[in-house]
Symmetry: C2
Subunit: 192 residues, 2 copies
DNA sequence: CCGCTCATGTAACAGGTTACATGATTTA
DNA sequence: TAAATCATGTAACCTGTTACATGAGCGG
């Protein structure tokens, strides 16, 4: 049950409502985990029941009342225990790679379209992560911030998210180049 | 249902038994998807029932009889259709990143141990992928192979797997450096 | 004789996705 | 008046993991 710990880690940055948490986990910002709002609301309920987080209701004038959650001491202990256990290796699981694996048997033009889509998506995330990183470090240099900053966890995971998307973009562009060059060298079946 | 298509894509490289497929998907070699043997046996049964793959029994002398599967025309059509649909974006979902997100609240020494483990794992996969790539391209250069090779799909996905693990290793090493430098600058609570 | 490889599964459970539901306010 | 944002969930379904089961040969 790792979503549990992902939620705890996210709540370390300050009190959040389910809605705010859902936005952070859902909308591309998910730099260390990804989850749907429904999962998060369910997990928050369970975490509170188990005493790992505590919530307080905040009544608002124009908006519905929301509940802000924070991690309890028991929650911190749970995180510490989780960190002590060795992490499972993470594997790639990507629709696009399945499609490229079949590259020699499917229409290259279709594949080229899919790769171009992914390049655009990756670039958008790269820009987003860049903005987030700049926001976190303020006017300090990265080196300065990582050495002396107070809260570097989110910055470090954001760096991984950035590198991941750069890897996606670069690989897609390389693959696009290869497919386009082959298109010129070896024309599609039925015409050559 | 994407495992379905991952299995189809894997079977394009030639006839495989459930056992061989399981090894390819399970033992770290999984450069474009990952699945447990139990999942694969179940999926093969379903794929055959739906006519997307066909199997033939091969009786062996010393070993139990095995079934070798290949993709049918219907299977190829299914893959073509799958490729035409736009791929879902892939997200990071990694225990280790959750732990690093909580870096400012857990014991740095524990975290350092986890990161070192991951570096070793990533390096092992990097070496493995390097060997696989060399095996696929033979004595040709990568450029030569990608331009004129007959089956480049597996090579391209392997390149992505390689880059992913290099990204893991580099990020872990960067993070290790940061944590170790901070250890010297800001001693742990309770001693300083 | 012990453990590994080949070869294939079943059953129970945990985790994740999709669809649906509600209801107020603000913005175009 | 249509759509987006705030705010929270339920129910059904699909996917993935863990544990267990079987049985033969091969290497140390």
């Amino acid at each position: 049950m790792a979503l549990r710990h992902a939620v705890l880690a996210a709540l370390l940055d300050g009190e959040l409502s389910g809605y705010q948490l859902a936005k952070a986990f859902d909308l591309g910002v998910a730099n260390f985990w990804h989850a749907r709002p429904q999962q998060l609301y369910a997990e928050l309920t369970r975490l509170e029941k188990d005493g790992l987080i505590a919530g307080r209701a905040v009544v608002q004038e124009t908006r519905p009342t929301k509940r802000l959650f924070h991690v309890t001491d028991a929650g911190l202990a749970e995180l510490e225990e989780f960190t002590a256990a060795s992490a499972k290796p993470s594997f790639i699981r990507d629709d696009l790679l399945v499609k490229v694996q079949a590259a020699d048997h499917v229409d290259p033009e279709t594949l080229i379209a899919r790769l171009a889509e992914r390049v655009a998506f990756a670039q958008a995330k790269i820009d987003l992560f860049g903005t987030l990183l700049r926001g976190m470090r303020g006017d300090r240099t990265e080196e300065e911030f990582l050495c002396h900053g107070r809260r570097i966890g989110p910055y470090l995971t954001c760096l991984r998210g950035l590198a991941f998307e750069q890897g996606n973009r670069d690989w897609c562009e390389r693959t696009l180049t290869v497919l386009r060059e082959r298109r010129e060298t070896r024309p599609p079946k039925g015409r050559g």
